[in-house]
Amino acid sequence: MSIKFFNRIATRLIINVIFVATLIASMSSYLLFDRTYKAELERTSTSLQQLVQAVSHTAAIATYLEDMVLGEEVIEGIATNHLVKAVELRSKFNMIANSGDISQAKDRDLIRFSLNSPFIERENVGELIVNVNYELIESYAKNTALEHVVLISIHSVVLILVIMCLLKYQLVDVIKNIARKLHDITPGSGQTIVCPSEHVSDEIGLLARDINGLLESAEKTLNRERSLRFEVEEFERRFRGIFEQTSGGIALIDNDGYLKVHNPSFEKILGTSRMMRLSNVHNESLFSVMGTEALSLQKAVNQALSGTEPISIDLKISDNDDIRWLQK
């Protein structure tokens, strides 16, 4: 039993599982990457804002009092965060405390916090400007997202392998085994498929039972065929004996009178010379060797072919002085 590699059920199953799993894993990975990336950006930005929010009250006091020492404390506290490139605290009048240079920063990289007086709500007393290291935030977000994607990919691969192993051992191998056994069975030999004990109650067991039913049915049919053939052969043998040994001449001719089958008595009745003419050497028709009786014979054959009743005629055969009458 030889099946091409790509026609095997296991190969096709593996290809399909890998294709579908890869497709789903790719889509999931893309969605997960996008979601994780955005969430990570959001989370980092929020934590940075929370940090600035936490020191904003002190920053407001520093700008309210134009307190450079306090302002620098605030600046240093923010600047220690690795996501901050530079930070500057400006009061409404002339205090400027900074760490790093924000003048080169792009506007989109700057977060500006307006600072109000700690005692009069609507009085603006300064501004806290943070130059956010978005490249680093994006890099962190990408790394985190990639880590998630790698993890889910590994998870998917492991899952696929487990599924494929289960399919192979619980389904494909069992089906292959049944197919191989079925292939090796000679019809009518009485062999059956033995169903694996763990599959007796499932679909595999049902398949094995159905196959055994079909095998049994085929065996019965074959036995009946054998019996009939034996009877036919027996009948043939008996009728052949009658055909060969009867004193009556029997011959079978076609529509044109050519001889198909005949018995020894027919040879004797027709005589050697006529039989020679009828034989394969001369291959003449029976009508042509019957001489004057040819027309009567032809007519009788035609009548026999057109009707259902047997036809009986008398024919005269003369060999030199020997005259014989035949009834056909």
């Binding site: 006091i61 134009e66 307190d67 306090l70 700690p118 009085e123």
Partner: protein, 142 residues
């Protein structure tokens, strides 16, 4: 009956007026101080350490009252809407920077009035009922 109702009404009005007077805090300064009126914001700036000068450029010496006193609690509540604890925390935060110093603490209302009476730069707060002719009111904090 009408007389009784009228008496009751008069008593209620009198009591309400008395209670209102008790809740009013006035900021007072030396009578010779050129600044006759200060805005609430200017008082805040002096008391919260933003400036040590009056708007006319003369030095200002803010006086605070006993930390547990009800007048202090009322003053800061009315002035900046902060509790005494928050004010203490504010000054504690500024303790090491040295940029601003808290107002000088004075034990009693009498001491406040005496210091203001003798120091042209001094500025303090008292209840309206404690007001004397030795000082001038430069703003109301209510």
């Amino acid at each position: 009956m009408k007389q009784l109702l009228s008496l009751t009404l008069i008593f209620i009005l009198f009591y309400a007026e008395l209670s209102a007077a008790e809740g009013v805090v006035v900021v007072v300064a030396n009578k010779d101080n050129q600044m006759k009126v200060l805005t609430k914001k200017q008082v805040i700036d002096i008391y919260m350490g933003r400036t040590t000068l009056f708007p006319n450029g003369e030095a200002a010496l803010p006086l605070d009252q006993n930390s547990d006193s009800s007048i202090r609690k009322l003053f800061y509540q009315n002035l900046v809407n902060k509790t005494v604890s928050e004010i203490n925390a504010y000054w504690a935060r500024l303790l090491f920077s040295g940029r601003a110093t808290p107002p000088r603490m004075v034990e009693s209302v009498t001491s406040v009035i005496n210091i203001i009476k003798n120091n042209k730069a001094a500025i303090g707060y008292i209840q309206l009922e404690d007001l004397t002719d030795d000082v001038q009111v430069i703003t109301y904090v209510d």
